[in-house]
Symmetry: C2
Subunit: 256 residues, 2 copies
Amino acid sequence: MIPRLYIDAPLETGAAAPLSEAQAHYLKNVLRRSAGDEARLFNGHDGEFAAAIAELKKKGGVVAVKGKTREQEIEPELALYFAPVKRGPLETIIQKATEIGVARLCPVITERTVAPKMNVERLQAIAIEAAEQSGRLTVPSVDDPMKLARLLDAWPEGRRLLFCDEAGDDEREEWGGREGRATPVLEALKDMDSKAGGWAVLTGPEGGFTPEERMVLRSKTFVTPATLGPRILRADTAAIAALTLWQAALGDWRNS
Amino acid sequence: MIPRLYIDAPLETGAAAPLSEAQAHYLKNVLRRSAGDEARLFNGHDGEFAAAIAELKKKGGVVAVKGKTREQEIEPELALYFAPVKRGPLETIIQKATEIGVARLCPVITERTVAPKMNVERLQAIAIEAAEQSGRLTVPSVDDPMKLARLLDAWPEGRRLLFCDEAGDDEREEWGGREGRATPVLEALKDMDSKAGGWAVLTGPEGGFTPEERMVLRSKTFVTPATLGPRILRADTAAIAALTLWQAALGDWRNS
């Protein structure tokens, strides 16, 4: 296994690139690598490069950049807006969404969000690790949390939002039964423009969205409401499932 | 929140149903419920019933079964065959697959499976909890592990297998480049018979399947090979994504 590393520095053949303290530690003490061993590097815009470890020290290291192994690819413009949940499932969302291929990870505070303390830096580190292991050439950014109302007010023109309208059975009935129910994701995305002005997926907290939030969301012309099957999914499951379906219907999981 | 409980006993209006020690403990000490409080019960075949807690003791309890709240539904005949992985992602697979709606969970030992000690009883308990919380009326069974070769040899006639043919880029090229690549899941499942003789999804261990295993799988007429996008997914992510796509394409996530 050749380790892949995300490097926040320009990459070109013949250059030397710096390793952080954490990367040097990981290569040396976890993977037991040393000078001369191979690695792969990417920085989000220059493609992927072969590299050789030049030096591993306590406070960092250096790799020698060799030939380009992959050209940078254009990735779908897909963001995930998600209500933050407790640490375990929150980290699952970050890791899996990165593997599935989102470009941005945006925590959104909704009425029923039981907001835990969120360490955005730690979440960003999880996204980097998932990007390295999944073979991605980019790392999704993790935003600071934002309130749902503010997000909707500042929505950019042309951009579309797949709203995963999960709710308990009682609430579904309150909403007006079958008429008020969202359509399945694949049906809702059928014949939609995969580019538009970019896409985003919105998933809620464990308690779902309030009737008021659902009404506001459904009133927006940029919103496509959709449902994720007849069972109640946990917040992390819903996020993974919705992103999977978007990628399969409109993203790079289709045949190119 | 009205607690839902899986009861391994017949359910009918007017009857009394037994609670296990764990259920009595959960209701009493975690949810702080007591005699007279409401619950919902299901047993996998009689539908869902309203119930009132009659008695909560240290070693168990009793609930009084009231009216039926939901009729039993016919669920898709979908099994997940998965290579067991280490405890965290293994439990994620069991929990999420239950929410998404599989009928059976079957660990499969492949060449590259780094088989951990698996506690089937604990995995079954996770499936029960996930079924209770997701609003399901059934609990998927968790099988004892079985070798891949034995599984394929004993494959029932008419049943189909969606084989998630994940592999690293190198191996994909070895396999013969684009010609040898599997098609995307949605394309592979298009116009397939959702009933057939039942369906199953097969996902591999972290290291993927060996070239020999892939060749054997692809030679079987009951196998539909498919790919889950251009990135390398972890074993648990692949299982969740594949089941999601099957449910959306052929299962009960479609409009009924």
